[in-house]
Amino acid sequence: MAEQTKANPHGPATGTLLDIRNLRIEATVYPPGEDPKNVVIVDDVSLTVERGKVLGLIGESGAGKSTIGLSSMGYGRGGVRITGGEVILNGRDILRDERGLRKLRGKEVCYVAQSAAAAFNPAHKLMRQVVEATLEHGVSSREEAEKRAVDLFRQLSLPDPENIGDRYPHQVSGGQLQRVMTAMALCSKPDLIVFDEPTTALDVTTQIDVLAAIKKAIRDTGVAALYITHDLAVVAQVSDDIMVLRHGKTVEWGDTRQIIEKPKQDYTKALVSVHAIDHEEHAPTPVPLLTVDNVTASYGDGRVKVLRDVSVDIHPGQTLAVVGESGSGKSTLARAITGLLPPENGSITFDGRTLANRLADRPKEDLRQLQMIYQMADVAMNPRQTVGTIIGRPLEFYFGMRGAERNARVAELLDKIEMGKGFADRYPAELSGGQKQRVCIARALAAKPKLIICDEVTSALDPLVANGILKLLLELQAEEDVAYLFITHDLATVRAIADSIAVMYRGELVRYGPKSKVLTPPFDAYTDLLLSSVPEMEVGWLEKAISNRRMEAAGN
């Protein structure tokens, strides 16, 4: 069998293409102030991929899924070492032949990265990059390769397939770039493509298009694929089989339907049922805490209107979720409310008084009562300050607390976010992503605010960790009676946390009201698109969703 495949690697489209046996991958880490130590990233993982089949690799960050994917190309990212096992591709162990790796990369196995925007060289036109591997490996002439590339652009429904190759990466949108990268991977007619979170960085409405395009391209070309993602609902749409990974070990491996419908392991069950938070909607109170009244804002002295006539209310102790794709103006609304981008027209009333438009004109008390939490917890904290200093700072600034009193309150806040007081002496670098976000929440709470603006606070986190953060936010809301303005592009999060919802599209409010009303048909076209684009954990959802759509995403 092995002999036969070797003799004719591009022969019949059946049989085993990739066979990874007992893979072990290690890396040396250099923790600050400690001796370098060895960590095992992937531990005894075995898998096989049949020709023309798609295996989904799923897990949280740090599960080793990308590392396993790249091992099929014999590549270790950032000093990672493959220290054990075999990677058998087309009948030969590629790890035994260091020199052969270059011939394999870009020819037998190609890679599609998470962020195509970063993975394309900004200095070269797209076409040059798309056909580069094809030419390097002598698969075909330049003319043929470019013709194939244009065909692939068309297959992947890219606009203007004849000429898009003449553009530079920065001239093309993120969703389109992701499809160009898929075309790049397909161009040299590889046997296997490693898709590494290819839709994670995209808006939900764009994701569905890219997902459909990738699925179609896989089917039409008969290429096999490793599809890496942390989103089980996404992987369920494209994979034949799914492997669940955790801490570098295999948790469960089975066909897609079995994993989704009858998961055996507890961890898989937790992944499948994630976001199952039941949040009872509160009715609006007679007097809102914050009223945004016909606010219009723009960048560049009125040249680019980014908010048009937006009016929303936030009620005390309740959550308003603002949803929309990137560029819809949801973060700009937050900037207008905080005074970072003074509105041109309209007014913002908070707790019975009108807020000054400019941040600089607002008294300290206004600043205290309105706090923010950001998407990127690690860049929102000073890496050279301890957790205690970070949380203690608002206590000093707003309440003048010092010494023991301050430390006691810090300990209390750490307790509230379910972290022990031992964390006070740690630095942000020593915390996990979820813990960092918890510290940011504690910092916001320290000011005893009436309103916290949460800007995509769970977007950068793994689903289970994100779920923990949402639960914490809901608990804190019940205890402290704080209101949230919750900005997100993730509708599952919205369902879990919102009392009322504002849907934004290109700077305008398209739908607004209590959660139950907003999420009940009949929908306007955009809300329908948004809602129908959220992947559901159901085999065959993608095809259904595409055929039922009423409007195209803005990214197209």
């Binding site: 790249l70 190309m73 590549y75 990212r77 790796l101 270059r102 011939k103 394999l104 990369r105 870009g106 020819k107 190609c110 890679y111 990265a113 962020s115 970063a118 993975a119 394309f120 060289n121 900004p122 200095a123 070269h124 990059q129 580069e132 591997a133 390097e136 490996h137 553009r167 530079y168 920065h170 001239q171």
Partner: protein, 320 residues
């Protein structure tokens, strides 16, 4: 569309450069005015009587207010007239012409050797980074920079002029010399200068490319199966052009402006020697003229670096 934006940016840089040059001319003029004594005193020296001083000052227009003298000087400079040297009463522009040409020739030769060599060594150092080749290149380049240029100069003279007798020890050049003879005459100072500027450019090239090598698109290139050298050449180099050109231009400016010591060692009739001679004679008009030319060289080369950086940026060349 893109070219309009580029043209506007380049025009801005050019205007800024000209403005800067005027500002420098003011500084140079003011600086020489602050010095004690004046030109009349310098000319007359020991023979100065109050009456003779007064006559000469009137003759030279030194009694006019400073700003009028500045504009008179500036007007002369703009029409190519730098005035006359006090020490020998010769026309400065004329004397400068030949000197400037000699300096540019020496700097040009040193640049032709050092710039490609530095970039090539930088690329090699990146290709074999942290290996023995990288360390050898860096070690050699840093050692040559650390040695003072006069030391390198004399060392070269000892070996190549005295022992081996390949090149002359003093780089005398004159107008009727053939090109080949001229090259032979300046070989040693050119090598000295090369050794002095090599390390800086090489290290910066290495750093600029290594910085780019962290990018995700370098990983993409690796996963296409490109060879290490192709990755550096095709994917890293085009994105490292701006910082490399910047450091190259700084070093070119140094080659023109900073060659005083080397010119003195090799008795080479360039700008540096000319400047040193006249500083010691307190010949203010010459110092002003040379100062202004050096400033123009610096500003001009840095402006070129800025413009190259603009042109090398695909986002500016091809806006959305």
């Amino acid at each position: 569309m893109g070219s309009a934006l580029i043209l506007r940016l380049i025009a801005q840089r050019l205007a800024l450069g000209v403005l800067l040059l005027f500002a420098v001319s003011v500084l140079i003029f003011a600086g020489t005015q602050i010095l004690p004594g004046d030109v009349a005193q310098s000319i007359l020296g020991q023979a100065a009587t109050p009456q003779a001083l007064e006559n000469l000052r009137r003759e030279l227009g030194l009694n006019d207010p400073a700003y009028i003298r500045y504009f008179r000087w500036l007007g002369g400079v703009l029409t190519g007239d730098f005035g006359t040297a006090l020490s020998n009463r010769r026309d400065i522009a004329e004397a400068l012409g030949g000197r400037l040409w000699n300096t540019l020739f020496l700097a040009g030769c040193a640049a032709v050797i050092s710039v490609p060599l530095a970039i090539l060594l930088g690329l090699l150092a990146v290709r074999y980074r942290n290996g023995i080749i990288d360390k050898a290149i860096s070690g050699f380049a840093l050692a040559s920079t650390s040695l003072p240029e006069f030391f390198i100069g004399y060392l070269l003279i000892l070996f190549f002029a005295v022992e081996l007798q390949w090149f002359p020890a003093s780089s005398t050049v004159f107008d009727t010399m053939s090109f080949g003879a001229r090259l032979q005459a300046i070989a040693l100072p050119a090598i000295t200068l090369t050794l002095v500027v090599l390390a800086h450019m090489m290290r910066m090239t290495r750093a600029a490319i290594l910085n780019v090598m962290q990018s995700a698109y370098i990983e993409t290139a690796e996963l296409k199966g490109l060879s290490a050298f192709d990755i550096i050449r095709r994917h890293a180099m085009p994105n490292a052009v701006a910082p490399i050109v910047n450091v190259v231009m700084l070093n070119l400016a140094y080659l023109i402006v900073g060659v005083v010591v080397v010119e003195v060692i090799f008795v080479y009739p360039g700008m540096g020697q000319y400047l040193v001679d006249h500083v010691s004679k307190r010949d203010v008009p010459v110092v002003q003229a040379v100062g202004l030319i050096f400033a123009a060289v610096y500003i001009g080369l840095n402006m070129i670096a800025d413009i190259v950086a603009i042109l090398a940026n695909p986002r500016l060349r091809h806006p959305k």
